[in-house]
């Protein structure tokens, strides 16, 4: 029976749920973002923009929740088989992921705010803009949003690559402990 909270040697259901919800959200938002910017103007394009923005704000909320959850839970130990240098690298990678998970939606939110576009999350609730209208700020936020996209894509490749390496090369339980089924 999986516990809601984390234990010393594994992630609880809360952390796993947040991890995989956010993972699915990020994959969808990145894909939507890539498709929508390359579409010519059409109703579909604007619907994808609305969806992308709603998803981004949802991810931002989930990431904040996840940070709080991590704060009030213990973090499982890394496997002892990892060298101190590898542990440091893994820690830095996860820090980068958390930072990017915040910066990605925030830069999009600023971009939308600086353009003074309204933002209605999934047609349910309109959230206020963060900044006054500013073309300069919108351009800066746009460049940052795209830069963060590429950095996030690179860190995600490393993250997924590392998880697969743990499972298939190192044969430890790092990947398995983020899955609901933990049979050896």
């Amino acid at each position: 029976m999986m516990k809601i909270r984390n234990t010393r040697d594994g992630w609880g259901a809360g952390a796993q749920l947040l991890h995989w919800l956010i993972a699915a959200g990020i994959a969808t938002a990145m894909l939507l973002g890539w498709i929508m910017v390359n579409l010519p103007n059409s109703a579909t394009k604007f619907e994808l923009y609305a969806l992308h923005k709603s998803l981004g704000i949802t991810i931002l909320a989930l990431v904040l929740l996840r940070i709080v959850w991590r704060w009030i839970n213990m973090v499982p130990d890394m496997p002892g088989t990892l060298s101190p240098r590898e542990q440091k690298l893994a820690g830095a990678g996860h820090m980068a992921l958390y930072a990017l998970m915040l910066l990605m939606p925030l830069s999009g939110y600023v971009l939308n705010s600086a353009a003074n576009f309204p933002l209605n999350v999934f047609g349910l609730v309109q959230i206020p803009n963060l900044t006054p209208e500013s073309e300069t700020l919108a351009e800066v936020a746009s460049v940052m949003h795209l830069t963060f996209f590429w950095v996030l894509a690179a860190v995600l490749v490393a993250h997924i690559g590392a998880a697969l390496r743990h499972h298939f090369v190192l044969h430890d339980d790092v990947l398995r402990r983020m899955l609901p089924v933990r049979r050896r």
């Binding site: 353009a115 003074n116 576009f117 309204p118």
Partner: protein, 195 residues
Amino acid sequence: MFRSTSSSAGRFSLGLGLGVIASALPMLASSAATGWEIVHDESRLGFEATQQGGRFEGRFEDFRADMRFSADDLAMSRFDVTVATGSINTGSSQRDSNLPDAEWFDTDAFPEAYYVTREIRATTDGYEAVGDLTIRDNTHEVVLPFTWQTEGDRAEMNGAVTIDRVRFGVGQGEWRDPSVAGHEVKVVVDLTLER
């Protein structure tokens, strides 16, 4: 040779005579319904619309109106409003850069929009103006409910009416889709006037 026998000169003078009488009529009318000047610094011709499901506001910076209103002479009360479509301001340079385009207001071809009342009548809550709104040469009747409060030589007029932008051809082609910009636009009139 000045004593013209041509009938065209006769028609001309007849036309002139009628014109003088016709132009005198509003002056007669104004003796009953008061003429009002808009205090532009304290007035707003605004609207509320939606973009991708989110609400935003805008306004027309440049408009003028011939306003005649007397609560006790509604028959002679009349609004004749002209709006410079290019003066639209929604506080978003990206959005505002699109609005003068041919798909939206086409400000080159249609620099002005008009609202001319045909009747102003009392309602339980105040008044309503029945008039013709013309945008991009599309004219449709629009009934504008409003309140009017006169205090000395100043007056406040507040009214709002929701119109369908598509009926007036505003936002065509790919912009026609309601997910891009909602079809319903609430026009909000808040005027301060002086006589």
